[in-house]
Subunit: 281 residues, 2 copies
Amino acid sequence: MILYGKQVAEKLSEEIIDEVKTLKDKGIEPKLAIVRVGRNEGDLSYERGAVKRAERLGIKVEVFELEEGIKTEDLIECIEKINNDNLIHGLLLFRPLPKHIDENRVKNYINANKDVDCINPINVAKIMEGDKTGFAPCTPAAVLEILKHYSIDLRGKNVVVVGRSMVVGKPLSMLLLSEDATVTICHSKTQNLKEITKKADILIVAIGCAKYINKEYVSDSTVVIDVGINVDNVGNLCGDVDFEDVKDLVSDITPVPGGVGAVTNTVLFKNLIKACKFQME
Amino acid sequence: MILYGKQVAEKLSEEIIDEVKTLKDKGIEPKLAIVRVGRNEGDLSYERGAVKRAERLGIKVEVFELEEGIKTEDLIECIEKINNDNLIHGLLLFRPLPKHIDENRVKNYINANKDVDCINPINVAKIMEGDKTGFAPCTPAAVLEILKHYSIDLRGKNVVVVGRSMVVGKPLSMLLLSEDATVTICHSKTQNLKEITKKADILIVAIGCAKYINKEYVSDSTVVIDVGINVDNVGNLCGDVDFEDVKDLVSDITPVPGGVGAVTNTVLFKNLIKACKFQME
């Protein structure tokens, strides 16, 4: 079975549209601030998708485009302005930031209640603690939404996560633990990777390496979730999994494009609704 | 081989004594504040061990004993006093706190540079990020010190952690990842636990359940690290591992008592020295 992201995003969008209506009835106009430093193509592409999705959901977006050369102090000033603006409920800051900016300092300034992509250490710590009063980062949260949508149970299951980044692998592993999965975290130094992934009930790949996982890494009962977004050698978008090589051999698989990536920005707005509610309290 | 903690603590203590001398030559008298709310027996026992260890190391300790019924505000006031005291370099707060205290609020008030047991979310997030500028919590750090002392390599090894607490399992897993281990985190909902633990190169158990792990869970190549401290049914201290049942079958094992627990408070003072250095910067 192909686990398409579109259906998941549609279902979530319906729920969000209802929530937006309820909020508007109470006089609240949900609004997201996107803070972008410079004009990175990946950031711009994500931004376009988010703006488009927001329109459909009835959510306002304000983009704060800052110069590539901006000083740490001035970026912090922009963040504090957003923190203090009662009409803005969430803040998405594109990272990595240019190298001259002290990202570790900046992170602490994002109001934890507006931190819809889990940048502030307060929210990172909450992910580790399994404390659901924080915000889960959007990509790991999208993976969980897909599994939930397709009724793929996690409790007690052997879930193998390949990749240990702070954007996906590590926070995702913590979220999976909160769902009672047994979690194995693999990475570039893992020995016998194939042996480990073959035994996974659910295999989640986030290594940023085009078509790395082929049929040698899976079994016929594996559910494969492909978080990678790469360009292959003929210029097409592809995942970390060689979709054509494994799709007929595994139990279920997400496509790329059209899998996890299709859900991520919807999760962003689900987090924004949560942020609106925090700010009503 | 029995992996005794005492030798590890001795070696670390020698290093710390040297560091203390160097600091004192620069006019710095390393000092730890212990904040204890109420008179929990476990806290008192840990405190006695720490005070004794500190004496040997030439480190000062000041205990702030607060009433069981103290208000959150008053506890925070005590913490802020310690934060602002330049003659105190580290703060250990015993947890769990009494239920009427808002622990989640309190955590944020501990100065991250004095947070020698990794309570502030800033340091928790650093553990997850593999950022070594923070403080690792003492028990997980003690496990790593033991493995390092006995030259047990972690890189690429299959390490199974049983237990997913915020005190041991989760932060330890993140520290192990930073050492390039492949990490599997198991817990009470894990299916086929024996199959998983038998395949571990290194098995670390932190579940708080007396003698739970017996010979059915290990193989002859397993290195067993027992983090548990329990009392068995005849009143003796014992670990989460049935030491007598497995000791002749495995490659290496830590005893209880005399294993991980014998290293923990020395790691606390290693962290204190790190804190002194932060405050010199």
